[in-house]
């Protein structure tokens, strides 16, 4: 049954429901689905291989421990990325590596949000994804995270807002600013 569910592409939320009801053997399907994604996400913040493995283990253990707090009517991936976000912030704090700022005007004030689902944006998304690998390291963490989640993990603005617990308009403004900063960085490095 486990293999069948794994093959059938049963939704994450349905698998989470099965685990919540005590069928813990289904947890490894979620692990299979998300291990590489979360590893890739963590790699953008941490460089040491061992650190990444430790954080990854902590993220999935926390996921398992807290899975009964997940509301199956909502999407699973933003919930999991939220746990990853918290664990990565803790890991960065331990390393005293410039985590997210305590206070940020982007979250304090309202911003106008432009539509991000047009065709032009989709094309730009692919182009940006190519540039990110080359220039991402120079971005501040507060800009780096929404860029990774949007261009590499392909989460929507709404899902990114769930992960970072900030208003959707803040996600929009950070991605917009990150694009401008990245273009400048990439030009300086000769990629544009």
């Amino acid at each position: 049954m486990r293999d069948e569910i794994s093959r059938q592409k049963v939704k994450d939320e349905e698998i989470a429901l099965l685990i919540q009801s005590g069928k813990i053997e289904f947890f490894d399907i979620l692990l299979e689905r998300y291990e590489e994604k979360i590893r890739r996400y963590s790699r953008k913040f941490l460089s040491d291989h061992e650190d990444i493995n430790d954080v990854l283990q902590d993220i999935f253990i926390k996921t398992y421990k807290n899975i009964r707090s997940f509301d199956v009517k909502r999407k699973f991936s933003p919930w999991l990325y939220r746990i990853a976000h918290n664990e990565l912030i803790n890991a960065l704090k331990k390393k005293k590596k410039n985590p997210l700022p305590l206070f940020d005007l982007d979250v304090f004030l309202p911003h106008h949000l432009s539509d991000n689902n047009d065709l032009g944006e989709q094309i730009e998304r692919r182009e940006m994804a190519e540039l990110i690998d080359k220039c991402l390291g120079k971005l501040e963490p507060k800009y780096r995270e929404p860029v990774i989640l949007y261009y590499l993990e392909e989460l929507s603005y709404k899902d990114i807002a769930e992960v970072m617990r900030v208003p959707i308009s803040t996600v929009g403004i950070r991605i917009k600013r990150a694009k401008e900063i990245m273009r400048t960085i990439c030009k300086k490095l000769g990629y544009l």
Partner: protein, 247 residues
């Protein structure tokens, strides 16, 4: 000896811990309790903020500080000097705690912080002023004066009946040739001396029985008035308490 065992993958390590029951799923009840405690904490902090703001407002009115800006720049100067800054700072810290607690609710973090912060500040100020207009604080103040309020009694006595050098508040007992004799809340009889330059921003018609605030230098039992104004009778209920027997 060569170790031929391959290092375990993250997946293997996590599943091993789950299967060996080293880690357990938290029950639903745990999360419900956490949410309930958060809500209780939020409302408790909210109630404390309302109490504190209404108490600050009560203190300002009861002491007469509230009315000082009516005496112009000099009045504003004393007003800022006598403000209960410690209580105001405590109120601001509580508002910050409320905002941090509120940010845990999705309907709050989905919007810019300025909205929730403004909403909290507005509700706290308006709610605080509404509570201050009820008999709540004067009632507690009366109990404190009678020694029937063990908890916070000293705070009420201190803030409800403060002794300032340059602001006096009391009831006019007698109108004399060059001023008045007033009875303060702490049962002192003071002579208020008026001069040419004494300000009466709300009129000079002051009679026996009126409650007034006097701003001016005090020397022993005499106050040289810089400004005098009549105020409403909201606090008369605790002025009418039976006085202590004179010895």
């Amino acid at each position: 000896m060569i170790n031929n065992q391959e290092p375990k993958t993250t997946k293997e390590r996590v599943l091993e811990e789950i299967k060996s029951s080293q880690i357990k799923m938290r029950p639903k009840f745990y999360f419900v309790l956490k949410t309930v405690l958060l809500a209780v904490g939020f409302f408790a902090a909210g109630a404390l903020v309302l109490f504190l703001i209404s108490f600050i407002s009560f203190h300002l009115r009861a002491s007469g500080i509230w009315y000082l800006p009516g005496f112009g720049l000099h009045g504003w100067g004393i007003y800022f000097r006598l403000m209960p800054w410690f209580l105001i700072l405590a109120g601001l810290i509580l508002i910050l705690i409320l905002e941090i607690l509120a940010k845990r609710f999705s309907f709050v973090w989905r919007r810019p912080i300025i909205y929730s912060l403004l909403a909290i500040i507005l509700i706290a100020i308006i709610g605080g002023f509404i509570i201050e207009r009820t008999p709540f604080h004067p009632g507690l103040f009366s109990k404190a004066r009678q020694g029937k309020l063990p908890f916070a009694g000293s705070a009420y006595r201190e803030f409800g009946m403060p002794r300032f050098h340059d602001v006096q508040r009391g009831v006019v007992e007698e109108v004399i040739e060059n001023g008045f004799k007033i009875r303060t809340f702490d049962d002192q009889l003071l002579t208020v001396v008026l001069a040419e330059e004494t300000q009466f921003p709300f009129g000079k018609e002051i009679e026996e029985g009126d409650t007034i605030v006097v701003m001016g230098e005090r020397e022993d039992d005499t106050v040289r008035a810089f400004g005098v104004r009549e105020i409403d009778d909201q606090f008369r209920m605790f002025e009418r308490l039976p006085r202590r027997p004179m010895h």
